[in-house]
Symmetry: C2
Protein backbone atom coordinates (compact mmCIF):
# COMPACT_ATOMS: atom_id res chain seq x y z
CA UNK A 1 0.00 0.00 0.00
CA UNK A 2 1.16 3.52 -0.72
CA UNK A 3 0.94 6.37 1.74
CA UNK A 4 -1.52 9.13 0.79
CA UNK A 5 -2.08 12.57 2.27
CA UNK A 6 -5.07 11.11 4.14
CA UNK A 7 -2.65 9.12 6.30
CA UNK A 8 -1.54 12.45 7.73
CA UNK A 9 -4.99 13.82 8.49
CA UNK A 10 -5.21 12.72 12.10
CA UNK A 11 -8.41 10.85 11.26
CA UNK A 12 -9.33 7.26 10.49
CA UNK A 13 -6.51 6.58 8.00
CA UNK A 14 -3.85 7.90 10.39
CA UNK A 15 -5.22 5.69 13.09
CA UNK A 16 -5.23 2.64 10.78
CA UNK A 17 -1.63 3.29 9.84
CA UNK A 18 -0.56 3.68 13.46
CA UNK A 19 -2.43 0.61 14.65
CA UNK A 20 -1.52 -1.49 11.64
CA UNK A 21 2.19 -0.81 11.57
CA UNK A 22 3.58 1.10 14.51
CA UNK A 23 1.53 -0.33 17.38
CA UNK A 24 2.08 -3.86 16.01
CA UNK A 25 5.81 -3.48 16.10
CA UNK A 26 6.44 -1.12 18.98
CA UNK A 27 3.68 -2.52 21.18
CA UNK A 28 4.45 -2.02 24.87
CA UNK A 29 2.41 -1.04 27.88
CA UNK A 30 3.42 2.62 27.73
CA UNK A 31 2.93 3.24 24.01
CA UNK A 32 -0.27 1.25 23.76
CA UNK A 33 -2.10 3.76 25.94
CA UNK A 34 -2.07 6.04 22.86
CA UNK A 35 -2.20 9.20 24.92
CA UNK A 36 -0.57 12.39 23.69
CA UNK A 37 2.37 11.86 26.05
CA UNK A 38 3.99 8.77 27.47
CA UNK A 39 4.34 8.60 31.22
CA UNK A 40 7.45 6.79 32.39
CA UNK A 41 9.15 6.25 35.73
CA UNK A 42 12.49 7.87 36.52
CA UNK A 43 12.91 6.20 39.89
CA UNK A 44 15.88 4.06 40.66
CA UNK A 45 18.57 6.03 38.91
CA UNK A 46 19.82 7.33 42.23
CA UNK A 47 20.41 10.74 40.75
CA UNK A 48 18.40 13.78 39.96
CA UNK A 49 19.47 13.99 36.34
CA UNK A 50 18.41 12.75 32.96
CA UNK A 51 20.04 13.11 29.55
CA UNK A 52 17.99 14.17 26.54
CA UNK A 53 18.89 14.08 22.86
CA UNK A 54 17.30 14.31 19.42
CA UNK A 55 18.36 13.21 15.96
CA UNK A 56 16.64 13.14 12.58
CA UNK A 57 17.45 10.52 9.95
CA UNK A 58 17.17 11.19 6.24
CA UNK A 59 19.51 8.49 4.89
CA UNK A 60 19.12 7.35 1.33
CA UNK A 61 18.73 4.53 0.39
CA UNK A 62 16.42 3.41 3.21
CA UNK A 63 17.91 -0.09 3.20
CA UNK A 64 21.61 -0.77 2.84
CA UNK A 65 24.13 -3.50 3.62
CA UNK A 66 24.39 -3.82 7.38
CA UNK A 67 21.30 -1.83 8.28
CA UNK A 68 18.41 0.43 7.39
CA UNK A 69 17.05 3.82 8.42
CA UNK A 70 15.16 2.20 11.30
CA UNK A 71 18.19 0.57 12.90
CA UNK A 72 20.15 3.75 12.28
CA UNK A 73 17.52 5.93 13.96
CA UNK A 74 17.62 3.87 17.14
CA UNK A 75 21.42 3.46 17.23
CA UNK A 76 22.06 7.16 16.60
CA UNK A 77 20.00 8.36 19.52
CA UNK A 78 21.00 5.54 21.85
CA UNK A 79 24.67 6.23 21.15
CA UNK A 80 24.26 9.97 21.73
CA UNK A 81 22.79 9.24 25.16
CA UNK A 82 25.56 6.75 25.96
CA UNK A 83 28.24 9.25 25.04
CA UNK A 84 26.99 11.64 27.74
CA UNK A 85 27.45 8.87 30.30
CA UNK A 86 23.73 8.09 30.50
CA UNK A 87 21.98 4.75 30.38
CA UNK A 88 19.49 5.08 27.48
CA UNK A 89 15.91 4.25 28.53
CA UNK A 90 13.10 5.75 26.47
CA UNK A 91 12.79 6.81 22.83
CA UNK A 92 10.13 8.74 20.97
CA UNK A 93 9.86 8.52 17.19
CA UNK A 94 8.42 10.98 14.73
CA UNK A 95 7.86 9.87 11.15
CA UNK A 96 7.60 12.31 8.27
CA UNK A 97 6.38 10.32 5.29
CA UNK A 98 6.28 11.52 1.72
CA UNK A 99 3.17 10.66 -0.22
CA UNK A 100 3.81 7.40 -2.08
CA UNK A 101 5.98 5.88 0.68
CA UNK A 102 5.54 2.13 0.74
CA UNK A 103 3.84 0.69 3.80
CA UNK A 104 5.77 -2.58 3.36
CA UNK A 105 9.00 -0.63 3.71
CA UNK A 106 7.54 1.16 6.70
CA UNK A 107 6.66 -2.17 8.27
CA UNK A 108 10.22 -3.46 7.77
CA UNK A 109 11.62 -0.25 9.21
CA UNK A 110 9.36 -0.39 12.26
CA UNK A 111 10.38 -4.02 12.88
CA UNK A 112 14.03 -3.11 12.57
CA UNK A 113 13.56 -0.22 15.02
CA UNK A 114 11.92 -2.52 17.53
CA UNK A 115 14.65 -5.19 17.16
CA UNK A 116 17.37 -2.60 17.63
CA UNK A 117 15.53 -1.05 20.59
CA UNK A 118 15.42 -4.49 22.22
CA UNK A 119 19.12 -5.05 21.55
CA UNK A 120 19.91 -1.64 23.06
CA UNK A 121 17.59 -2.10 26.03
CA UNK A 122 15.36 0.91 25.30
CA UNK A 123 11.61 1.30 24.92
CA UNK A 124 9.85 3.31 22.20
CA UNK A 125 7.24 5.15 24.25
CA UNK A 126 5.69 7.79 21.99
CA UNK A 127 5.29 8.47 18.30
CA UNK A 128 3.90 10.83 15.70
CA UNK A 129 3.29 10.60 11.97
CA UNK A 130 2.99 13.38 9.40
CA UNK A 131 2.58 13.15 5.63
CA UNK A 132 3.97 15.62 3.09
CA UNK A 133 3.92 15.75 -0.71
CA UNK A 134 6.89 14.12 -2.39
CA UNK A 135 8.24 10.93 -3.88
CA UNK A 136 7.92 8.24 -1.24
CA UNK A 137 10.70 9.40 1.09
CA UNK A 138 10.74 8.38 4.74
CA UNK A 139 12.29 10.59 7.45
CA UNK A 140 12.53 9.62 11.09
CA UNK A 141 13.24 11.68 14.16
CA UNK A 142 14.12 9.82 17.32
CA UNK A 143 14.50 11.61 20.62
CA UNK A 144 15.63 9.91 23.76
CA UNK A 145 15.91 10.07 27.50
CA UNK A 146 18.56 8.32 29.55
CA UNK A 147 19.40 8.14 33.23
CA UNK A 148 22.64 9.52 34.58
CA UNK A 149 24.64 8.25 37.47
CA UNK A 150 25.54 11.00 39.93
CA UNK A 151 29.19 9.94 39.71
CA UNK A 152 29.31 10.24 35.95
CA UNK A 153 31.66 13.01 34.89
CA UNK A 154 32.24 12.87 31.18
CA UNK A 155 32.14 15.66 28.65
CA UNK A 156 34.11 17.30 25.89
CA UNK A 157 35.53 19.71 28.47
CA UNK A 158 36.81 16.92 30.74
CA UNK A 159 39.73 15.56 28.70
CA UNK A 160 43.20 16.80 29.50
CA UNK A 161 46.78 16.73 28.33
CA UNK A 162 48.26 13.24 28.61
CA UNK A 163 44.94 11.40 28.23
CA UNK A 164 44.84 8.55 25.75
CA UNK A 165 42.46 8.44 22.77
CA UNK A 166 40.87 5.12 21.80
CA UNK A 167 38.79 4.38 18.71
CA UNK A 168 36.41 1.43 18.95
CA UNK A 169 36.92 0.02 15.45
CA UNK A 170 37.41 0.54 11.72
CA UNK A 171 36.65 3.93 10.23
CA UNK A 172 34.43 4.61 7.26
CA UNK A 173 32.29 1.45 6.98
CA UNK A 174 28.91 3.18 7.12
CA UNK A 175 29.94 5.96 4.77
CA UNK A 176 31.43 3.53 2.26
CA UNK A 177 28.37 1.25 2.46
CA UNK A 178 25.97 4.14 1.75
CA UNK A 179 28.14 5.46 -1.05
CA UNK A 180 28.42 1.97 -2.57
CA UNK A 181 24.64 1.54 -2.45
CA UNK A 182 24.09 4.93 -4.01
CA UNK A 183 26.64 4.32 -6.78
CA UNK A 184 25.43 0.73 -7.20
CA UNK A 185 28.93 -0.61 -6.63
CA UNK A 186 28.91 -4.28 -5.58
CA UNK A 187 31.28 -5.02 -2.73
CA UNK A 188 31.43 -6.60 0.73
CA UNK A 189 31.35 -3.38 2.73
CA UNK A 190 28.64 -3.27 5.40
CA UNK A 191 27.47 -0.36 7.53
CA UNK A 192 28.78 -0.58 11.09
CA UNK A 193 25.46 0.77 12.44
CA UNK A 194 25.24 -0.58 16.03
CA UNK A 195 24.28 0.39 19.57
CA UNK A 196 27.31 0.81 21.81
CA UNK A 197 25.78 0.21 25.22
CA UNK A 198 27.59 -3.04 25.92
CA UNK A 199 30.96 -1.45 25.21
CA UNK A 200 30.34 1.65 27.31
CA UNK A 201 28.84 -0.42 30.11
CA UNK A 202 31.87 -2.70 30.19
CA UNK A 203 34.29 0.22 30.52
CA UNK A 204 32.17 1.77 33.26
CA UNK A 205 31.86 -1.51 35.12
CA UNK A 206 35.60 -2.08 35.01
CA UNK A 207 36.15 1.37 36.46
CA UNK A 208 37.85 2.98 33.48
CA UNK A 209 38.15 6.72 34.14
CA UNK A 210 36.59 8.01 30.93
CA UNK A 211 36.94 11.75 30.46
CA UNK A 212 35.24 12.13 27.07
CA UNK A 213 33.18 9.89 24.82
CA UNK A 214 31.86 10.73 21.40
CA UNK A 215 30.37 8.65 18.61
CA UNK A 216 32.13 9.19 15.30
CA UNK A 217 29.27 10.08 12.92
CA UNK A 218 28.74 12.85 10.33
CA UNK A 219 31.92 14.77 9.65
CA UNK A 220 34.10 11.83 10.65
CA UNK A 221 36.86 11.42 13.23
CA UNK A 222 38.60 14.64 12.18
CA UNK A 223 35.50 16.76 12.83
CA UNK A 224 34.67 15.06 16.12
CA UNK A 225 38.20 15.51 17.48
CA UNK A 226 38.24 19.15 16.41
CA UNK A 227 34.96 19.75 18.23
CA UNK A 228 36.38 18.24 21.40
CA UNK A 229 39.56 20.26 20.92
CA UNK A 230 37.49 23.46 20.56
CA UNK A 231 35.54 22.73 23.74
CA UNK A 232 38.39 21.49 25.91
CA UNK A 233 41.05 23.86 24.57
CA UNK A 234 43.44 20.88 24.27
CA UNK A 235 45.21 19.64 21.16
CA UNK A 236 45.35 16.02 20.06
CA UNK A 237 47.98 14.03 18.25
CA UNK A 238 47.16 10.81 16.36
CA UNK A 239 49.41 8.09 14.97
CA UNK A 240 48.19 7.51 11.43
CA UNK A 241 49.30 3.88 11.20
CA UNK A 242 47.27 3.01 14.28
CA UNK A 243 43.95 4.19 12.86
CA UNK A 244 42.00 1.02 12.04
CA UNK A 245 40.49 0.91 8.54
CA UNK A 246 39.41 -2.34 6.88
CA UNK A 247 41.17 -3.56 3.73
CA UNK A 248 37.95 -3.21 1.73
CA UNK A 249 37.29 0.35 2.84
CA UNK A 250 40.93 1.28 2.28
CA UNK A 251 40.74 0.01 -1.30
CA UNK A 252 37.39 1.74 -1.82
CA UNK A 253 38.83 5.03 -0.55
CA UNK A 254 41.91 4.75 -2.74
CA UNK A 255 39.82 4.31 -5.87
CA UNK A 256 37.44 7.18 -5.09
CA UNK A 257 39.94 9.52 -3.45
CA UNK A 258 38.15 9.53 -0.09
CA UNK A 259 39.74 10.18 3.28
CA UNK A 260 38.58 7.88 6.11
CA UNK A 261 39.23 10.71 8.61
CA UNK A 262 36.17 12.50 7.21
CA UNK A 263 33.91 9.51 6.69
CA UNK A 264 30.84 8.92 8.83
CA UNK A 265 30.33 5.85 10.98
CA UNK A 266 27.29 4.73 12.94
CA UNK A 267 28.68 2.24 15.43
CA UNK A 268 32.05 3.68 16.36
CA UNK A 269 33.07 5.78 19.30
CA UNK A 270 36.14 7.40 20.67
CA UNK A 271 36.91 7.28 24.36
CA UNK A 272 39.44 9.64 25.90
CA UNK A 273 40.65 8.06 29.11
CA UNK A 274 43.14 8.54 31.89
CA UNK A 275 46.53 7.36 30.61
CA UNK A 276 46.89 4.57 33.20
CA UNK A 277 43.52 3.12 32.15
CA UNK A 278 44.21 2.96 28.42
CA UNK A 279 45.00 -0.78 28.26
CA UNK A 280 42.01 -1.65 30.41
CA UNK A 281 39.76 0.48 28.18
CA UNK A 282 41.21 -1.24 25.13
CA UNK A 283 40.47 -4.72 26.42
CA UNK A 284 36.94 -3.68 27.40
CA UNK A 285 36.35 -2.44 23.88
CA UNK A 286 37.88 -5.51 22.23
CA UNK A 287 35.80 -7.87 24.35
CA UNK A 288 32.59 -6.11 23.28
CA UNK A 289 30.42 -7.23 20.42
CA UNK A 290 31.20 -4.25 18.19
CA UNK A 291 34.75 -3.55 19.36
CA UNK A 292 37.11 -6.26 18.13
CA UNK A 293 39.11 -3.83 15.98
CA UNK A 294 39.46 -1.18 18.71
CA UNK A 295 42.78 0.61 18.94
CA UNK A 296 44.69 3.24 20.86
CA UNK A 297 45.13 5.96 18.25
CA UNK A 298 46.75 8.90 19.97
CA UNK A 299 46.84 11.23 22.92
CA UNK A 300 45.61 14.57 24.14
CA UNK A 301 48.26 17.29 23.95
CA UNK A 302 48.67 20.64 25.59
CA UNK A 303 46.31 23.54 25.77
CA UNK A 304 46.22 25.69 22.64
CA UNK A 305 47.65 22.97 20.39
CA UNK A 306 45.90 21.68 17.28
CA UNK A 307 44.58 18.31 16.17
CA UNK A 308 47.45 16.71 14.31
CA UNK A 309 48.30 13.37 12.78
CA UNK A 310 51.76 11.80 12.49
CA UNK A 311 52.37 9.69 9.43
CA UNK A 312 54.35 6.45 9.41
CA UNK A 313 57.24 8.38 7.86
CA UNK A 314 57.34 10.85 10.73
CA UNK A 315 55.59 13.75 9.01
CA UNK A 316 52.98 15.68 10.95
CA UNK A 317 49.93 17.41 9.49
CA UNK A 318 47.06 19.40 10.91
CA UNK A 319 43.70 17.66 10.74
CA UNK A 320 40.95 20.23 10.26
CA UNK A 321 37.17 19.84 10.32
CA UNK A 322 35.16 18.80 7.29
CA UNK A 323 34.49 21.56 4.78
CA UNK A 324 31.82 21.22 2.12
CA UNK A 325 29.17 18.63 1.91
CA UNK A 326 31.02 15.34 2.35
CA UNK A 327 28.40 12.76 1.51
CA UNK A 328 24.96 14.20 2.19
CA UNK A 329 22.08 12.14 3.59
CA UNK A 330 24.40 9.59 5.14
CA UNK A 331 22.25 9.35 8.28
CA UNK B 1 21.39 32.95 2.49
CA UNK B 2 20.03 29.72 1.08
CA UNK B 3 20.57 26.35 2.71
CA UNK B 4 22.79 23.98 0.73
CA UNK B 5 23.51 20.28 1.19
CA UNK B 6 26.78 21.30 2.86
CA UNK B 7 24.77 22.63 5.81
CA UNK B 8 23.85 19.03 6.54
CA UNK B 9 27.35 17.60 6.35
CA UNK B 10 28.14 17.76 10.04
CA UNK B 11 31.22 19.81 9.21
CA UNK B 12 32.07 23.51 9.24
CA UNK B 13 28.91 24.73 7.46
CA UNK B 14 26.63 22.81 9.83
CA UNK B 15 28.44 24.29 12.76
CA UNK B 16 28.17 27.82 11.32
CA UNK B 17 24.44 27.37 10.82
CA UNK B 18 23.95 26.07 14.35
CA UNK B 19 26.05 28.77 15.97
CA UNK B 20 24.72 31.54 13.75
CA UNK B 21 21.03 30.83 14.10
CA UNK B 22 20.08 28.23 16.65
CA UNK B 23 22.57 28.93 19.42
CA UNK B 24 21.90 32.68 19.08
CA UNK B 25 18.22 32.22 19.67
CA UNK B 26 18.01 29.20 21.92
CA UNK B 27 21.10 30.05 23.94
CA UNK B 28 20.91 28.63 27.46
CA UNK B 29 23.38 26.99 29.77
CA UNK B 30 22.29 23.45 28.87
CA UNK B 31 22.17 23.79 25.10
CA UNK B 32 25.33 25.83 24.84
CA UNK B 33 27.44 22.90 26.00
CA UNK B 34 26.89 21.46 22.50
CA UNK B 35 27.27 17.89 23.66
CA UNK B 36 25.42 15.05 21.95
CA UNK B 37 22.90 14.94 24.78
CA UNK B 38 21.57 17.56 27.17
CA UNK B 39 21.83 16.78 30.87
CA UNK B 40 18.97 18.19 32.90
CA UNK B 41 17.83 17.84 36.51
CA UNK B 42 14.61 16.02 37.39
CA UNK B 43 14.75 16.82 41.07
CA UNK B 44 11.97 18.60 42.84
CA UNK B 45 9.01 17.08 41.08
CA UNK B 46 8.23 14.99 44.13
CA UNK B 47 7.37 12.02 41.97
CA UNK B 48 9.18 9.32 40.14
CA UNK B 49 7.57 9.99 36.78
CA UNK B 50 8.11 12.05 33.69
CA UNK B 51 5.95 12.52 30.61
CA UNK B 52 7.48 12.28 27.13
CA UNK B 53 6.03 13.25 23.78
CA UNK B 54 7.05 13.93 20.20
CA UNK B 55 5.46 15.83 17.33
CA UNK B 56 6.63 16.80 13.85
CA UNK B 57 5.48 19.96 12.13
CA UNK B 58 5.14 20.25 8.36
CA UNK B 59 2.69 23.14 8.12
CA UNK B 60 2.54 25.15 4.94
CA UNK B 61 2.83 28.12 4.68
CA UNK B 62 5.58 28.55 7.29
CA UNK B 63 4.17 31.92 8.40
CA UNK B 64 0.47 32.58 8.80
CA UNK B 65 -1.84 34.98 10.63
CA UNK B 66 -1.50 34.34 14.35
CA UNK B 67 1.66 32.26 14.22
CA UNK B 68 4.34 30.35 12.35
CA UNK B 69 5.78 26.83 12.26
CA UNK B 70 8.13 27.71 15.13
CA UNK B 71 5.43 28.85 17.55
CA UNK B 72 3.33 25.89 16.46
CA UNK B 73 6.14 23.41 17.10
CA UNK B 74 6.59 24.60 20.67
CA UNK B 75 2.85 24.90 21.46
CA UNK B 76 2.05 21.47 20.05
CA UNK B 77 4.54 19.61 22.20
CA UNK B 78 3.97 21.75 25.30
CA UNK B 79 0.21 21.18 25.03
CA UNK B 80 0.63 17.42 24.59
CA UNK B 81 2.63 17.31 27.82
CA UNK B 82 0.07 19.46 29.64
CA UNK B 83 -2.77 17.20 28.53
CA UNK B 84 -1.15 14.26 30.32
CA UNK B 85 -1.15 16.29 33.53
CA UNK B 86 2.56 17.06 33.35
CA UNK B 87 4.35 20.37 33.79
CA UNK B 88 6.35 20.82 30.55
CA UNK B 89 10.06 21.43 31.19
CA UNK B 90 12.47 20.54 28.40
CA UNK B 91 12.19 20.43 24.62
CA UNK B 92 14.47 19.09 21.94
CA UNK B 93 14.15 20.24 18.34
CA UNK B 94 15.14 18.49 15.15
CA UNK B 95 15.16 20.48 11.92
CA UNK B 96 14.91 18.85 8.51
CA UNK B 97 15.69 21.54 5.96
CA UNK B 98 15.20 21.26 2.24
CA UNK B 99 17.97 22.67 0.11
CA UNK B 100 17.11 26.27 -0.73
CA UNK B 101 15.45 27.00 2.61
CA UNK B 102 15.97 30.63 3.54
CA UNK B 103 18.16 31.30 6.56
CA UNK B 104 16.25 34.53 7.26
CA UNK B 105 13.08 32.50 7.60
CA UNK B 106 14.95 30.06 9.79
CA UNK B 107 16.13 32.89 11.99
CA UNK B 108 12.56 34.21 12.39
CA UNK B 109 11.35 30.70 13.18
CA UNK B 110 14.06 30.12 15.78
CA UNK B 111 13.23 33.44 17.44
CA UNK B 112 9.55 32.57 17.49
CA UNK B 113 10.35 29.17 19.05
CA UNK B 114 12.40 30.81 21.75
CA UNK B 115 9.70 33.43 22.49
CA UNK B 116 7.05 30.74 22.72
CA UNK B 117 9.29 28.54 24.88
CA UNK B 118 9.72 31.47 27.26
CA UNK B 119 5.98 32.10 27.36
CA UNK B 120 5.37 28.40 28.06
CA UNK B 121 8.14 28.16 30.65
CA UNK B 122 10.16 25.48 28.85
CA UNK B 123 13.79 25.28 27.81
CA UNK B 124 15.06 24.04 24.42
CA UNK B 125 17.92 21.80 25.50
CA UNK B 126 19.05 19.82 22.45
CA UNK B 127 18.86 20.12 18.69
CA UNK B 128 19.75 18.50 15.41
CA UNK B 129 19.78 19.66 11.79
CA UNK B 130 19.61 17.62 8.61
CA UNK B 131 19.42 18.78 5.00
CA UNK B 132 17.61 17.01 2.16
CA UNK B 133 17.05 17.84 -1.51
CA UNK B 134 13.88 19.78 -2.24
CA UNK B 135 12.40 23.20 -2.66
CA UNK B 136 13.16 25.14 0.49
CA UNK B 137 10.78 23.38 2.86
CA UNK B 138 11.35 23.45 6.62
CA UNK B 139 10.18 20.64 8.90
CA UNK B 140 10.54 20.65 12.67
CA UNK B 141 10.28 17.87 15.20
CA UNK B 142 9.94 18.87 18.82
CA UNK B 143 10.05 16.30 21.57
CA UNK B 144 9.47 17.14 25.17
CA UNK B 145 9.78 16.05 28.76
CA UNK B 146 7.51 17.18 31.57
CA UNK B 147 7.27 16.40 35.26
CA UNK B 148 4.25 14.68 36.72
CA UNK B 149 2.73 15.15 40.10
CA UNK B 150 2.17 11.84 41.86
CA UNK B 151 -1.43 12.82 42.53
CA UNK B 152 -2.17 13.50 38.90
CA UNK B 153 -4.69 11.02 37.56
CA UNK B 154 -5.84 12.08 34.14
CA UNK B 155 -6.22 10.02 31.02
CA UNK B 156 -8.62 9.09 28.26
CA UNK B 157 -9.66 6.09 30.36
CA UNK B 158 -10.51 8.19 33.44
CA UNK B 159 -13.69 9.95 32.28
CA UNK B 160 -17.03 8.47 33.28
CA UNK B 161 -20.74 8.78 32.75
CA UNK B 162 -22.09 12.07 34.09
CA UNK B 163 -18.82 13.99 33.69
CA UNK B 164 -19.05 17.37 32.01
CA UNK B 165 -17.18 18.28 28.82
CA UNK B 166 -15.67 21.76 28.47
CA UNK B 167 -14.11 23.30 25.38
CA UNK B 168 -11.65 26.15 25.98
CA UNK B 169 -12.66 28.36 23.06
CA UNK B 170 -13.77 28.79 19.46
CA UNK B 171 -13.31 25.88 17.06
CA UNK B 172 -11.59 26.03 13.70
CA UNK B 173 -9.47 29.20 13.89
CA UNK B 174 -6.13 27.55 13.07
CA UNK B 175 -7.57 25.43 10.29
CA UNK B 176 -9.38 28.38 8.73
CA UNK B 177 -6.28 30.59 9.02
CA UNK B 178 -4.10 28.02 7.23
CA UNK B 179 -6.69 27.40 4.55
CA UNK B 180 -7.14 31.16 4.02
CA UNK B 181 -3.40 31.61 3.65
CA UNK B 182 -3.15 28.74 1.23
CA UNK B 183 -6.08 29.95 -0.88
CA UNK B 184 -4.88 33.57 -0.58
CA UNK B 185 -8.23 34.66 0.88
CA UNK B 186 -7.96 37.94 2.79
CA UNK B 187 -9.85 37.90 6.10
CA UNK B 188 -9.41 38.56 9.80
CA UNK B 189 -9.10 34.94 10.90
CA UNK B 190 -6.01 34.23 13.00
CA UNK B 191 -4.57 30.89 14.11
CA UNK B 192 -5.30 30.18 17.77
CA UNK B 193 -1.85 28.63 18.21
CA UNK B 194 -1.02 29.03 21.93
CA UNK B 195 0.46 27.22 24.93
CA UNK B 196 -2.21 26.20 27.44
CA UNK B 197 -0.15 25.96 30.61
CA UNK B 198 -1.76 28.90 32.37
CA UNK B 199 -5.24 27.48 31.81
CA UNK B 200 -4.35 23.96 32.95
CA UNK B 201 -2.38 25.28 35.91
CA UNK B 202 -5.32 27.40 37.03
CA UNK B 203 -7.72 24.45 37.00
CA UNK B 204 -5.22 22.30 38.89
CA UNK B 205 -4.57 25.02 41.45
CA UNK B 206 -8.27 25.52 42.05
CA UNK B 207 -8.64 21.81 42.68
CA UNK B 208 -10.83 20.96 39.68
CA UNK B 209 -11.09 17.16 39.43
CA UNK B 210 -10.09 16.77 35.79
CA UNK B 211 -10.59 13.25 34.47
CA UNK B 212 -9.43 13.77 30.88
CA UNK B 213 -7.70 16.54 28.96
CA UNK B 214 -6.96 16.62 25.26
CA UNK B 215 -5.89 19.36 22.88
CA UNK B 216 -8.14 19.63 19.86
CA UNK B 217 -5.72 19.41 16.94
CA UNK B 218 -5.65 17.39 13.69
CA UNK B 219 -8.95 15.63 13.04
CA UNK B 220 -10.87 18.19 15.10
CA UNK B 221 -13.19 17.90 18.08
CA UNK B 222 -15.14 15.01 16.55
CA UNK B 223 -12.02 12.85 16.16
CA UNK B 224 -10.64 13.70 19.60
CA UNK B 225 -13.92 12.85 21.34
CA UNK B 226 -14.22 9.59 19.41
CA UNK B 227 -10.70 8.62 20.48
CA UNK B 228 -11.57 9.25 24.12
CA UNK B 229 -14.81 7.35 23.65
CA UNK B 230 -12.89 4.38 22.18
CA UNK B 231 -10.46 4.34 25.09
CA UNK B 232 -12.93 4.93 27.93
CA UNK B 233 -15.80 2.93 26.47
CA UNK B 234 -18.14 5.83 27.29
CA UNK B 235 -20.35 7.76 24.92
CA UNK B 236 -20.62 11.56 24.81
CA UNK B 237 -23.44 13.90 23.97
CA UNK B 238 -22.87 17.48 22.86
CA UNK B 239 -25.26 20.44 22.55
CA UNK B 240 -24.59 21.89 19.12
CA UNK B 241 -25.64 25.46 19.97
CA UNK B 242 -23.14 25.54 22.83
CA UNK B 243 -20.10 24.85 20.65
CA UNK B 244 -18.23 28.13 20.35
CA UNK B 245 -17.29 29.16 16.80
CA UNK B 246 -16.42 32.75 15.88
CA UNK B 247 -18.62 34.65 13.45
CA UNK B 248 -15.77 34.91 10.95
CA UNK B 249 -15.00 31.19 11.01
CA UNK B 250 -18.73 30.35 10.80
CA UNK B 251 -19.06 32.48 7.67
CA UNK B 252 -15.87 31.01 6.22
CA UNK B 253 -17.17 27.47 6.84
CA UNK B 254 -20.55 28.25 5.30
CA UNK B 255 -18.98 29.49 2.10
CA UNK B 256 -16.56 26.57 1.76
CA UNK B 257 -18.81 23.83 3.12
CA UNK B 258 -16.52 23.03 6.03
CA UNK B 259 -17.59 21.50 9.34
CA UNK B 260 -15.94 23.05 12.44
CA UNK B 261 -16.24 19.68 14.22
CA UNK B 262 -13.47 18.37 11.96
CA UNK B 263 -11.27 21.42 11.86
CA UNK B 264 -7.89 21.52 13.56
CA UNK B 265 -6.99 23.97 16.31
CA UNK B 266 -3.65 24.64 17.98
CA UNK B 267 -4.58 26.38 21.19
CA UNK B 268 -7.80 24.70 22.24
CA UNK B 269 -8.40 21.90 24.69
CA UNK B 270 -11.24 19.94 26.08
CA UNK B 271 -11.40 19.10 29.76
CA UNK B 272 -13.72 16.39 31.03
CA UNK B 273 -14.37 17.10 34.69
CA UNK B 274 -16.43 15.89 37.62
CA UNK B 275 -19.97 17.27 37.20
CA UNK B 276 -19.84 19.30 40.43
CA UNK B 277 -16.64 21.04 39.26
CA UNK B 278 -17.91 22.14 35.85
CA UNK B 279 -18.65 25.76 36.74
CA UNK B 280 -15.33 26.12 38.56
CA UNK B 281 -13.49 24.69 35.56
CA UNK B 282 -15.37 27.07 33.27
CA UNK B 283 -14.38 30.14 35.27
CA UNK B 284 -10.75 28.95 35.40
CA UNK B 285 -10.74 28.66 31.62
CA UNK B 286 -12.45 32.00 31.06
CA UNK B 287 -10.01 33.80 33.35
CA UNK B 288 -7.06 32.43 31.39
CA UNK B 289 -5.34 34.27 28.59
CA UNK B 290 -6.51 31.92 25.86
CA UNK B 291 -9.85 30.87 27.35
CA UNK B 292 -12.30 33.76 27.21
CA UNK B 293 -14.68 31.90 24.87
CA UNK B 294 -14.64 28.66 26.86
CA UNK B 295 -17.93 26.79 27.17
CA UNK B 296 -19.55 23.72 28.66
CA UNK B 297 -20.45 21.76 25.54
CA UNK B 298 -21.87 18.44 26.70
CA UNK B 299 -21.54 15.45 28.96
CA UNK B 300 -20.18 11.93 29.10
CA UNK B 301 -22.90 9.30 28.63
CA UNK B 302 -23.12 5.62 29.42
CA UNK B 303 -20.80 2.82 28.50
CA UNK B 304 -21.27 1.53 24.96
CA UNK B 305 -22.96 4.69 23.71
CA UNK B 306 -21.69 6.77 20.80
CA UNK B 307 -20.50 10.33 20.38
CA UNK B 308 -23.60 12.29 19.46
CA UNK B 309 -24.61 15.88 18.96
CA UNK B 310 -28.03 17.40 19.62
CA UNK B 311 -29.06 20.22 17.35
CA UNK B 312 -30.94 23.31 18.45
CA UNK B 313 -34.09 21.80 16.92
CA UNK B 314 -33.78 18.67 19.05
CA UNK B 315 -32.40 16.32 16.39
CA UNK B 316 -29.54 14.01 17.36
CA UNK B 317 -26.82 12.76 15.05
CA UNK B 318 -23.80 10.55 15.47
CA UNK B 319 -20.46 12.34 15.23
CA UNK B 320 -17.88 10.01 13.69
CA UNK B 321 -14.13 10.46 13.25
CA UNK B 322 -12.60 12.26 10.30
CA UNK B 323 -12.37 10.22 7.09
CA UNK B 324 -10.16 11.28 4.22
CA UNK B 325 -7.53 13.90 4.29
CA UNK B 326 -9.24 16.94 5.79
CA UNK B 327 -6.70 19.67 5.24
CA UNK B 328 -3.22 18.19 4.98
CA UNK B 329 -0.14 19.90 6.39
CA UNK B 330 -2.12 21.92 8.86
CA UNK B 331 0.48 21.42 11.59
Amino acid sequence: MKITMAHGSGGRETSELINGIFAQNFGNSVLSKMEDSAVVPVNGNGCGKIAMTTDSFVVTPLFFKGGDIGRLSVCGTVNDLLMSGAVPKYLTCGFILEEGADTEDLEKIARSMQNTAEEAGVMIVAGDTKVIEGNGGIYINTSGVGFLKETMQTGADKCKSGDVILLSGNLGDHHAAILSARMEIENQIKSDCAPLGEMVGRMQKEGVEIHTMRDVTRGGLATVLNEISDTSGCGMNLQEERIPVSKEVKAFCNILGLDPFYMGNEGKMIAIVKKEHAQLALSCMRESRYGKDAAIIGEVTGSGEKVTVETALGGKRILSVLYGEGLPRIC
